[in-house]
């Protein structure tokens, strides 16, 4: 556990070093980035091994910072944050591996990337609201430069939209939280102080403040209809950034909802639950249907991310302990799976074929040109469909149990979402990799043209894919590994509002 609090600082230091190393050579910058990411992985791994699940937040660092406002530099961890820290470590390492071929301004790229990662780590580890917000905002600006500087389709527009939506969301959050601080007379910015302050607010104020904070975070989580930045932004972003943005940064929003919005304002939450749930259902189905008709490979993945995040938000909306646990597990699961999907689209396919148009890809025998990519994508696609054996299934199962306990009608929408997800995933697997040349002739006598030479994946690509696949399969077959952390954390007094109508 002792290495954990150093992760954000170490990653920031790595960012600065990468910038300096980049001035010398691209290889040096990559090495620095790899070492930094591995440090995060190591620290998270050690913490995971030594972690004893409890319902309390375990403090790692707690020093006064800005005494005048009662703000402390307070880092703490519980099962929920640790799961997400592990996710970040895995996603960041895989991201570095899949960025091995970035050629321009490598030092700056990794510096921005690592700053983003540091911000994300910081959010998950913060136990002081102000500190959490600072890390949240630190993560915003690097996004712009990563996407605008190294991205692809409509990158400047995509970057600006991404960042402005994120910032607007954070502005809403700031408004709600500072209002709570002021109106509730909080003595500081610790979780406890603001929860008490929120409790002192009147009913109407509580409902309004919850609305601000929740929908502010929900914007970053991609809740319908505040999701429109996500497909555009993720498509525009370079591969590693897409992996991190869709995989982890969207989870910042959901984490904010789970850690702050719901526990601080249980009264407001109860008033908004139905709205949130229906919006989530709408998002799941709408994004899935839109994904079904996309022509750009990456857009399919972008919309599928919105659909999966809808599941997370739906789980949160039920307010059931089971579903909250499922939502957290889904955050982890989708983080890994989205990483895989974007890695295949961006790094494996686009960088080699220079097209993401499904119509063009269909005409190529992709599964023979890139057999490794095909295999990885099939596995990732199955995981994305929620096939049992991969991490998405236990997560969706838990969320569904919560939905059944709270509002069964949503379950129908959710099941519809699962079906649509299956359909569009299958469609994109087909068209991207197994297009017109798919039918292997029935007799061995007619063989297709022998001119197709398969390209092997590079070592970094294989390592990255292996890391992510191992994560999703391991958790798919043994979700206890994470659920044993997450479920006790949900027994904390902060989650006293969560119902337990679903038998655990």
């Amino acid at each position: 556990m002792s290495l954990l609090p150093w992760i954000p600082v170490a990653t920031l230091a790595g960012a600065v070093l990468a910038l300096a190393a980049g001035a010398r050579s691209a290889a040096a910058a990559r090495a620095v980035a790899m070492v930094t990411a591995l440090f995060g992985l190591l620290a998270a791994g050690v913490a995971a091994a030594r972690f004893t699940p409890s319902s309390e937040l375990v403090t790692l660092v707690d020093v006064p910072w800005i005494a005048q406002l009662g703000i402390r530099y307070h880092l703490a961890v519980d099962g929920i944050s640790l799961s997400l820290v592990v996710l970040t470590a895995i996603a960041a390492t895989a991201g570095v591996l899949f960025s091995w071929t970035v050629a321009e301004r490598v030092g700056e790229f990794f510096a921005l990337y690592l700053t983003l990662v540091a911000g994300v780590y910081g959010v998950f580890l913060s136990a002081d609201v102000f500190l959490l917000f600072v890390f949240y905002e630190i993560a915003i600006v690097p996004k712009y430069f990563l996407v605008a500087g190294w991205g692809s389709t409509r990158r400047e527009y995509g970057a600006m939209k991404l960042v402005l939506y994120s910032f607007a969301g954070s502005a809403l959050v700031l408004a709600g939280l500072v209002w709570t601080y002021g109106a509730g007379g909080a003595e500081g910015f610790s979780f406890g102080a603001l929860t008490e302050a929120a409790a002192r607010m009147s009913y109407g104020e509580n409902v309004a403040a919850f609305g601000l904070v929740f929908f502010g975070f929900a914007t970053l989580a991609g809740l319908f209809p505040l999701h429109t930045w996500a497909p555009t932004g993720h498509v525009a972003a370079p591969t590693a950034a897409s992996m991190l943005l869709a995989g982890v940064v969207m989870k910042l929003g959901a984490y904010g909802c789970l850690r702050i919005a719901l526990p601080f304002y249980p009264v407001g939450f109860a008033a908004w639950q139905m709205v949130i749930g229906w919006l989530a259902v709408a998002g799941i189905v709408y994004a899935g249907l839109v994904a079904l008709v996309q022509r750009d490979f990456k857009f399919v993945i972008g919309y599928s991310s919105v659909s999966h995040m809808g599941f997370v938000m739906l789980g949160l909306a039920t307010g059931e302990v089971e579903a909250l646990g499922g939502a957290t597990l889904q955050m982890f699961s989708h983080g890994v799976i989205a990483g895989l999907l974007f890695a295949v689209v961006g790094r494996m396919v686009y960088e080699r074929e220079h097209t993401r148009d499904l119509v063009e890809l269909e005409a190529l025998p992709m599964h023979r040109r890139l057999p490794g990519a095909a295999a990885v994508f099939v596995l990732a696609g199955l995981a994305s469909m929620g096939l049992p054996g991969f991490s998405g299934f236990p997560a969706e199962l838990k969320i569904l149990t919560g939905i059944w306990a709270f509002h069964p009608l949503w379950a129908v929408g959710a099941a519809g979402g699962v079906l649509v997800a299956g359909a569009f995933t299958l469609r994109v697997i087909q068209r991207a990799f197994f297009g017109r040349f798919s039918a292997v002739p029935a007799t061995a006598a007619e063989t297709p043209d022998q001119a197709v030479v398969p390209t092997r994946l590079t070592l970094p690509e294989r390592l990255g894919a292996l890391l992510l696949l191992a994560a999703t399969i391991l958790i798919g077959l043994k979700p206890d590994l994470l659920l044993d952390w997450i479920m006790p954390a949900l027994q904390s007094p902060a989650f006293h509002f969560a119902a337990s109508r679903a038998v655990p």
């Binding site: 400047e156 509730g184 607010m201």
Partner: protein, 489 residues
């Protein structure tokens, strides 16, 4: 009385030092200047000026806060010390930035005027007496009018100076009128006495007029709507470091100045309806409304700008709205948040203008597209500009973020949304999202866009570089450890 004069002189030592320095600078230039290049004359002047500023700062620091001096006419409290140090620092940074700007014909006079303006700022921070206050204000303002028009080669500079002078003059007149009304109502010219007298009896209509005048003058000084029209032209037309001084030190001093007048002096007229009669609510709601209009107007119009300096001007108007919010909140939590915001805002602004000065010297125009390719042309300027712009945008861990945060927290602390300041705070948060857009446009040009014209590298003199780095570093340090500054209050 003799001991009083000694004490008085001691209290005003910084002003005296600066005045002496100003004269010294001009004298040195007369003696050794003729025949030397503009550049070396500038360096001499700046060097001497910096020495004076540093000396003054040391004196201020050593003396610390002393309470009231000279029969209560000067107040050397914590805010005064802080503002004085802040003003001196900003002036020093402006002088450093001046070395990177295009050298003018008479650099020494420029430095001298800047120093005299600083004297005025120093006085504005401590005056407790209407006459002294006005005197300080005018000293500063007159110097600034000249500085604004210093670039005789460009008609925009003259236009800027003229507009500044005309509007400034009107606002000074209004202020004086307001002051005389206050004297008429209360019979006193010291702020504490005025406050007591106002609390005692009411003279609704006259009080309202006086307050109105004061607010108008404040609005002009801080560029708060609807008294802002001079700002875009002055920011665009004046020589860059003059604009820097106007935008930073002048605003800081002005805030302190009006804080004293509005809270110490006109405190009783702030919110309660009985004293100002009629519509109910004193200057607080009015100021809140002005801030709200400023925030909206400044940020929304900035979106449409194509000139960097005008964009900074409109963003300054937006920031002025937030600074005004700090002023409003100061009644509840003291001047700490307001000072922090103003000081760090000043740092970022001086830095930004110093960058622009360097670019102007290299021959760039003032359009946003002219920033393109800055990353290659001068990584130092690009990096520092990023720090300054992001601080203005309010991105952590830079000081601008914390300044906004602490002001908003203080504003909402007064009475949540029951007080107009709370609503203005929410508006300011919303506008900060709008502002990020145009700030990112600047950085996009500097860092992402490629320079179509493939211009050469920008030369940065060491003193200017020092100034940039110092400002950026301060923003980083103060942003990470705000208690360093805020803890003093």
């Amino acid at each position: 009385m003799s001991t009083d004069y000694a004490l008085l002189f001691r209290a005003l030592l910084p002003e005296a030092l600066l005045t002496a320095t100003a004269l010294l600078v001009i004298g040195l230039d007369l003696a050794w200047g003729p025949g030397r290049s503009r550049g070396s004359r500038l360096q001499m002047a700046v060097g001497a000026g910096l020495l004076g500023l540093v000396a003054a700062a040391l004196v201020v620091w050593q003396d610390g806060s002393q309470g009231t001096v000279w029969a209560g006419n000067l107040r050397l409290d914590l805010l005064a010390v802080a503002v004085r140090l802040g003003v001196l620092g900003l002036a020093a940074l402006s002088l450093l930035g001046l070395t990177g700007a295009r050298a003018s014909d008479q650099p020494a006079e420029y430095v001298g005027l800047a120093l005299l303006a600083t004297v005025g700022f120093l006085q504005m921070a401590v005056a407790q007496n209407l006459l002294l206050a006005f005197l300080a204000l005018e000293l500063a303002s007159l110097s600034l009018y000249v500085l604004a028009g210093y670039d005789r080669g460009r008609p925009e500079s003259a236009e800027a100076a003229l507009k500044y002078f005309l509007q400034g003059g009107v606002s000074a007149a209004l202020l004086l009128f307001g002051f005389s009304l206050l004297y008429g109502i209360t019979g006193r010219i010291d702020l504490t006495g005025i406050s007591v007298a106002l609390a005692a009896h009411s003279d609704a209509s006259l009080g309202a007029v006086a307050v109105g005048m004061v607010l108008a003058a404040f609005g002009f000084k801080a560029a708060v709507a609807p008294f802002h029209p001079w700002a875009p032209d002055v920011y665009q037309g004046a020589p860059p470091m003059s604009a820097a001084l106007i935008a930073s030190a002048s605003k800081l001093a002005g805030l302190a100045f009006f804080w004293r007048i509005l809270w110490s002096g006109l405190g009783p007229l702030s919110a309660t309806s009985s004293l100002t009669g009629g519509a109910g609510g004193g200057w607080v709601p009015v100021l809140a409304a002005m801030c709200a209009v400023s925030l909206l107007l400044g940020n929304l119009v900035a979106l449409a700008q194509v000139s960097v300096r005008r964009l900074l001007a409109y963003s300054a108007i937006g920031h002025a709205g937030a600074l005004g919010l700090g002023l409003l909140a100061a009644g509840e939590v003291g001047p700490g948040p307001m000072f922090y915001y103003a000081a760090t805002y000043g740092l970022a602004t001086v830095g930004a203008f110093a960058c622009l000065a360097l670019l102007e010297r290299a021959g760039d125009g003032d359009r946003i597209e002219d920033l393109a390719g800055l990353r290659r042309r001068s990584p130092l300027i690009a990096a520092c500009l990023a720090v300054f712009v992001l601080s203005l945008a309010g991105i952590p861990p830079l000081a601008g973020f914390f300044g906004k945060f602490v002001v908003f927290a203080a504003a909402l602390r007064i009475d949540g949304l029951g007080h107009p300041a709370g609503w203005v705070a929410l508006l300011a948060i919303a506008m900060s999202a709008v502002a990020l857009y145009y700030y990112l446009i600047l950085l996009k040009q500097a860092w992402i866009a490629d320079d179509a014209r493939a211009r050469g590298r920008v030369d940065v003199p060491p003193a200017a570089a020092l100034g940039l780095v110092l400002a950026a570093a301060l923003l980083l340090v103060l942003g990470a450890f705000p208690a360093l500054l805020l803890g003093r209050f």
